[in-house]
Symmetry: C2
Subunit: 331 residues, 2 copies
Amino acid sequence: MRVVTGYRPTGRLHIGHLFGNVGSMLDLQATHECFFFVADWHALTTDYESPSKIAENAKDVVLDWIAAGVDPFRATIYKQSDIPEVAELALVLSMITPLSWLERNPTYKEQQRELAGRELGTHGFLGYPVLQCADIAIVGGELVPVGEDQLPHLELTREILRRFNRLYGPVFAEPQAMLTDARRVPGPDGRKMSVSYDNVIWLDDPHDRIDEVVHSAITDPAKVRKGDPGDPEICNVYHWWRFFFPDESLRVANTCRDGSLGCVEDKRAFADRLAEHLAGFRERRADLGVKHGMAEEVLAAGRAKMRPIVEETLVRVREAMGLPETRRASP
Amino acid sequence: MRVVTGYRPTGRLHIGHLFGNVGSMLDLQATHECFFFVADWHALTTDYESPSKIAENAKDVVLDWIAAGVDPFRATIYKQSDIPEVAELALVLSMITPLSWLERNPTYKEQQRELAGRELGTHGFLGYPVLQCADIAIVGGELVPVGEDQLPHLELTREILRRFNRLYGPVFAEPQAMLTDARRVPGPDGRKMSVSYDNVIWLDDPHDRIDEVVHSAITDPAKVRKGDPGDPEICNVYHWWRFFFPDESLRVANTCRDGSLGCVEDKRAFADRLAEHLAGFRERRADLGVKHGMAEEVLAAGRAKMRPIVEETLVRVREAMGLPETRRASP
């Protein structure tokens, strides 16, 4: 089964990605034909005012993936904007996608609320799920690892492709969702860790930056000093323990509750433990970073692997619709 | 100056096109570098349920143009869907186009009202002006012949390109409108003659079909029989006289008013006169129709002429945005 998943290069990878995104990529590449892409056009939906960062991030993400264990010899790694057929397919699909399907999309509403300060009511932003549908359909994606919050988008993809098949004949498989770890790693502020919220710990953050972010985390406000009993359920540091080092989290919870663990001490311990945990990644990532042109090599190879696949898809789409490319009649 | 204009192949050409569309193409090709395209993706916005007709019409329109006098050795004639870069540019532009600009577009509102029976509230239909903007910008269009009803679309194009230039640097010229004959040729029902309203006389209609449509035209309802005085201002046949044979229209108006011209007689005279007027076109068109592969040859040549132009545009767009194509680093 073909697996497709993309990442919007609005930033590099952070520790939240070790669960949903990167975690499932590593699992799936061992057993499936995988297409992993850097969704730079998608990044434009929110970051159109500063696109040059997107290009930088795109290369960083490729190196992050590889440092995290993604294997470019197993999976096809490519950049969305290197495949113009994605835009072509998105355009065609947008013609059969009712606005009402897009407007009722709950993640659209949520993102608009969350990013209210920025001018995001664009045609491209509303069309995000159509582009996502094209991303999946262009490679004939059958399995899409998604977090729970992305399920409505995938359902939209299925609806759009179903409509295409009904109008023009059976061209596309309806992709299935593969639910990834649905839990959201919180940021220090308690919101979902997300580049958009500027509350992330990058995978290659040095120890001192990890310290800094961990020490800014909101803990139980009723626990003022060591000795006070705390409620770990409302402590972001405790949630991190549970995500990253579940074996150690029971001890943390108990000593928080009985007051014997102070918050500062807890934060220092967690920061040290996380920095140690990420040391291997940081080293591999640094090695990759000094290899000039490494990301470009990987993306160029992926682009070449994509060519025959996307061309075949577009031929089938055009044939089904009865809109063939211009060809000179044979003499 | 580069001139761009497109035609949606929801049908072949009809007599209404002799004024706005084709009339200005003939004028402009003599003096300007012209790009004339068959807008098959645009046709999908309203005709996505039956796209195979679009492909047939696209070829017919090319032959109609040539029969009407468009010179494929002067102008570049191409099909929109043969140029994937148009879709790519439209996607990028959609990211910077506020929904509010599209929603306030008066032709959007009007079309939705007029075509209310069909499911037209799609993302692609709303994005029509963005795609149109890409059509113009992809060839660096500087002059766009438009009817008055299309002015809001061109203003939107200018706004979108201005926004692009402001965000990313001066890449695009703001195209100027060249107002074509703004009068709308009515159909026999008095609405604008339009393929969407199924009220047209095709340029290559045979005499008997011209008779049929002309005889169905609504005239002054108060003029029941010859002898009754009529009001030519509310007679669609009189409006046709004014459009096509203005020299003869005064005589028609006077004899209508004084009752000496009966409606049936008037219709027969107009139908005969129009059929005679279109005879040359019909003959040339029939000749072209029997040349196998003629339309494809013209479109293939246009496509080839377009390649370097659109590639240059996309390179400039990507450079301005800082989103370059993946290139392998030089060793």
